[in-house]
C-alpha cells in the first residue's frame, strides 16, 4: 500500500490545445506540454531529471522528450506499455522514484495524435497470435466491442439501462460547456443520446469517448520543494494501482475475469482509501475515467460512492452533477473534453484544487479523486490542497 501520504506533490501542469488534427508531431506535442508544466511550476528546466509516460506504440519515448527539452541528466526516463489504466500509476511511480533517490523532479506526460495519427486500437495484429487468436476471428476486435461486453453484464446483473448510460454522457457534456479547452461543448440531451446511432450494442455513439490529438503533463516533486514554488502545491494523499485475479494476457483479454459487472475499482478501493485515510464521502470532486459511459457507473460503485448495482440510478438521479452528491468530470471527461488517455483528468483535478478552474470551479474543493481504467486493471489518486 502507498505509504507516501503528503510527501509528494504536483507542482506544475501543462497541456497543448486538444484537437482532431494537431498538425504537429507527437514529439512536438509532448515537448510543448512538458515545457508548460515546468514553466507553471517555477522549477528550472535544468532541474528536471525524470520523465514517465505510457502508451501502446502511439507516442514517443521519454528519452526523446528529455533530449528535446535539452535536459542535462535524465536519470529516470521510462515508459509503461499500457492503456489509460496507467494514467495515475505514472504519478505514483514518479513519487516512488524520487523517494528512492532515482530522480528529484519528474514530469509525467501523455502525448498522442489519437485522431489524425495512430488511432487507439489501430496497428494491432489481427492475425491472431496469443490471446487474440480466441477473440479477433469472431469479429471481436475494437475497444468499444471489448467494453460493451462489460457494460452488458452490468445490465444483466443490475438492470442498468441505456438511459442511465446517457445520463453520464449528458452530464459530461454539460460540464464541457464550461471548459474552454473542451473539444465538444455543444449541449446534448438524453434524447440526443438515445437517437445517436448504435455502434455496438449496448453502446450508442454518445457512449463512446472522443479521439484526440494533444498532450498534457504534470510535474511531481517533493512536498518540501513544492512549498516555495510559484503554485499552490497539490499533495498526493493516497494512491493505488492494480486489479483483481485473472486480469488476462492483455488489456483486451477478459475471458477469465470473474464477473464483468465489476471492474478493477472494486479491487483497489480498500488500498486507495486506506492509503489516503479518507473515504468517498470526503471527496469534493471526482475525475473518473470515462472511455465509455458505463465505466463511470462501475467505478462509482467500486470506489463506494454508491452501492453495488446502484450506479445507474445514482447517475440518473443527478448524483454526479456539479450540484450533486459528487461532481464528476468537471472538465467534460474523455467523453467531451478530450481523450488524452486519462492524464487530462489529473490536470483538471489540480486546477480544481488550486481554485483555478474558472466557471467550472467546484467551490471550496479540498479533496479530489482521479481514476484511470475501465476493465481489469486501473489506478487512482486522492489529491488534496
Amino acid at each position: 500500500m502507498w505509504t507516501l501520504q503528503d510527501k509528494y506533490a504536483i507542482a506544475g501542469i501543462g497541456h497543448t490545445k486538444y484537437s482532431a488534427n494537431s498538425g504537429a508531431t507527437v514529439l512536438n506535442l509532448a515537448l510543448e506540454a512538458c515545457r508548460s508544466a515546468v514553466a507553471d511550476s517555477g522549477i528550472q528546466m535544468d532541474e528536471i531529471d525524470g520523465l514517465v509516460s505510457y502508451h501502446f506504440g502511439d507516442s514517443v519515448p521519454s528519452i526523446a522528450v528529455a533530449t528535446g527539452l535539452g535536459l542535462p541528466a535524465a536519470r529516470y526516463a521510462v515508459e509503461f506499455s499500457s492503456g489509460g489504466n496507467a494514467a495515475n500509476l505514472i504519478v505514483q511511480t514518479a513519487a516512488a522514484a524520487i523517494e528512492a533517490g532515482l530522480a528529484r523532479n519528474v514530469i509525467c506526460f501523455r502525448a498522442m495524435n489519437g485522431r489524425s495519427g495512430l488511432r487507439l486500437g489501430g496497428g494491432r495484429d489481427l492475425n491472431s497470435r496469443g490471446v487474440t487468436q480466441y477473440t479477433a476471428p469472431f469479429g471481436w476486435i475494437t475497444y468499444p466491442q471489448a467494453m460493451a461486453m462489460w457494460c452488458r453484464r452490468h445490465m444483466i446483473k443490475y438492470g442498468t439501462t441505456s438511459e442511465q448510460l446517457g445520463a453520464v454522457a449528458v452530464s459530461c457534456r454539460r460540464n464541457a460547456a464550461l471548459n474552454p479547452r473542451a473539444m465538444m461543448r455543444e449541449p446534448i440531451t438524453l434524447a440526443d443520446h438515445q437517437a445517436s446511432r448504435m455502434i455496438v450494442e449496448p453502446f450508442r455513439l454518445l457512449d463512446i469517448c472522443l479521439e484526440s490529438d494533444g498532450a498534457c503533463a504534470v510535474l511531481v516533486t517533493s512536498a518540501e520543494r513544492a512549498r516555495d514554488l510559484r503554485r499552490k502545491p497539490v499533495y498526493i494523499l493516497g494512491a493505488a494501482y492494480g486489479g483483481g485475479p485473472n486480469q488476462g494476457d492483455d488489456l483486451f483479454d477478459a475471458i477469465r475475469w470473474p464477473e464483468h459487472a465489476h471492474n478493477y475499482a472494486k479491487y483497489i478501493a480498500t488500498d486507495l482509501w486506506g492509503s489516503a485515510g479518507v473515504g468517498p464521502r470526503d471527496i469534493d470532486v471526482a475525475e473518473i475515467y470515462d472511455c465509455f459511459t458505463y465505466s463511470v457507473i462501475m467505478q462509482l460503485e467500486g470506489f463506494g460512492f454508491c452501492g453495488e448495482g446502484e450506479g445507474g440510478a445514482f447517475v440518473q438521479s443527478g448524483g454526479i452533477e456539479r450540484d450533486g452528491e459528487i461532481p464528476v468530470n468537471t472538465h467534460g471527461g474523455l467523453l467531451s473534453e478530450a481523450y488524452i488517455h486519462g492524464l487530462n483528468h489529473v490536470v483538471e483535478a489540480v486546477e480544481q484544487l488550486r481554485g483555478e478552474a474558472g466557471p467550472r470551479q467546484i467551490a471550496g474543493a479540498r479533496l479530489a479523486l482521479t481514476t484511470a481504467g475501465a476493465m481489469t486493471c486501473g489506478s487512482a489518486l486522492v489529491l488534496r490542497n
Partner: protein, 137 residues
C-alpha cells in the same frame, strides 16, 4: 471470408484448433488437479502443475454476456456481416469462451440462454466454433 483475422495456432493452442477442424471442442485440463482452463496454457493457475490433458467438451453452455456489432470495423472485412453477435459462452465444463451466436435474431438473445456449438469451416485449414440456441431434445 478473405482478409478476416484467422487464428495462428501455437504450441499451447494447436490441439484446440486441430479439434475444431475435426468438429470437436477440446478443452485443456490439468492432469493433476483436474481444473479445466481456457485459453489453453502450459501451467495450471490453481496447482501450478505443468501436466496437462485434453478433454472433449459437451459443446453445450449458456450465454454469459453478449454484444451486437452494428458498426463494422475494419469496414472492408465486416461491412457485409453486420449485425453480428459476439458472446462469452460459459461451457458446462466451467470455462468461458468468446464466440459468435448464430441461428437466431440478435434481439432474441438472453443471458443464460442455452446454446450449443456449431462448427463452421471458414477455410481448408480453419474451423471456428460458433454457438446456436440449443435445440430441445
Amino acid at each position: 471470408m478473405s482478409g478476416k483475422p484467422v487464428p495462428v495456432p501455437d504450441a499451447d493452442s494447436r490441439p484446440f484448433w486441430d479439434g475444431c477442424r475435426e468438429h470437436q471442442l477440446r478443452i485443456e485440463r490439468c492432469a493433476d488437479c483436474g481444473t479445466a482452463r481456457f485459453p489453453p496454457s502450459g501451467m495450471c493457475p490453481h496447482c501450478r502443475s505443468s501436466r496437462r490433458e485434453w478433454i472433449t467438451a459437451s459443446g453445450r453452455g449458456t450465454v454469459f454476456s453478449w454484444i451486437v456489432v452494428r458498426h463494422p470495423v475494419p469496414k472492408e472485412m465486416y461491412a457485409g456481416e453486420v449485425p453480428y453477435v459476439v458472446a462469452l459462452v460459459e461451457l458446462e465444463e466451467g470455462v468461458r469462451m468468446p464466440t459468435n451466436i448464430v441461428g437466431c435474431e440478435p434481439g432474441a438473445i438472453r443471458a443464460g440462454m442455452p446454446v450449443e456449438v456449431v462448427f463452421e469451416d471458414v477455410s481448408a485449414d480453419v474451423t471456428l466454433p460458433r454457438f446456436r440456441p440449443q435445440v430441445p431434445s
